[in-house]
Point group: C2
Chain length 206, copies 2
């Protein structure tokens, strides 16, 4: 059996979709959490493949880039759909979720300049959130309660894994008026392996 | 045979890696170019899967997200490496190239505020370019003149497809002191189908 070591910061962030996938797959993994402001990270940063975390070590070899890692794990755990065109659509949704998170969290919520943050907040609250949530709700509505193809894919796990951070930045529950997204989240959280992970993971805001 | 219709703006940008892949694969495609400031785009935008171009229509169905489209085409044209772990590494490199382009072009070069652009320029020129170019040169050096696995992958095509834009923003040839990247670029450009594409494509700066 393969050995997995995830290295990320002590937040849900971009590590959480990977933790969800590893948990869903029922494989053991080391969940290393580095302090972002530490000397440890400053020393480690230049040694990572592209200066970033998360990285996932698989049998001793280090891989990077969140979506690439998720897609690899999705393939191992049969979460890429039936055909190559299904995979394309599932990849595109996961990629859009990644963009959504970047705009809402990395760009807006993590902005340190208060004036710039206030300006970004207007755009994020009135355009970004409504736009993506409406597109995602339509997908869930038209795909039998999943984001694609009437069956669970890694795009669904990705959505639920980032949804708590999206709630925090939105200062509200993103699924409130979105019954299909709400039900999708409940379905994913009811999966036995995901449930165990949620119970044992550190309780964090992001 | 599948029918392909690419819709993007009249720049190389994120469309060019897709155009490279379709050309490499030797398939016919419609190369639709929309004016970014036009009413046509304003009307079209809400109808796209996630409010963005490029999109690729495959047999009449519209798909989005540059990297997802590239990966799908790479699979059809056998440019994803030999094993799932090769694919993970190739995906990660393509994803890092996407980040590199975003920082150098979308974030810095397209910045409209002159003061902010000047500030970003310092970071981009002294940190972003040297960092990514050095990582990429090392990969080409250690992988037999390709970015991964001693053979051509879609990451190589992606690199060459964005290299002209990267040159423009850098105000210099990014391969100047990078002999392995220079030789990789020459190899890709010497491929018959890519050569034909370069000859017939519109001549643009980005």
């Amino acid at each position: 059996m393969a050995s997995y070591k995830l290295v990320y910061f002590n937040v849900m962030g971009l590590g959480e979709p990977i933790r969800f996938l590893l948990s869903y797959g029922g494989v053991e993994f080391e969940d290393i959490r580095v302090n972002h402001s530490s000397e440890e990270w400053a020393n480690m940063k230049p040694m990572t493949p592209f200066g970033q975390l998360p990285t996932l070590e698989i049998n001793g070899k280090v891989y990077s880039q969140t979506l690439s890692i998720c897609r690899y794990l999705a393939k191992q755990f049969n979460l890429l759909g039936k055909t190559d065109l299904d995979t394309l659509q599932i990849d595109a949704i996961a990629s859009a979720l990644y963009d959504f998170r970047r705009l809402a969290i990395s760009s807006y919520y993590r902005e340190t300049d208060p004036a710039l943050k206030a300006k970004k907040k207007i755009d994020v609250m009135t355009r970004v959130y409504p736009f993506y949530l409406s597109k995602l709700e339509d997908l869930a509505k038209n795909n039998g309660g999943y984001l694609h193809g009437n069956q669970l894919s890694y795009a669904d796990l990705f959505f639920v894994a980032i949804s708590d951070s999206l709630n925090t930045a939105y200062e509200s529950d993103i699924t409130e008026d979105k019954p299909h997204l709400k039900s999708l989240k409940e379905k994913v959280l009811a999966h036995e392996n995901i449930k165990s992970w949620i119970e044992k993971r550190p309780k964090l805001e992001f």
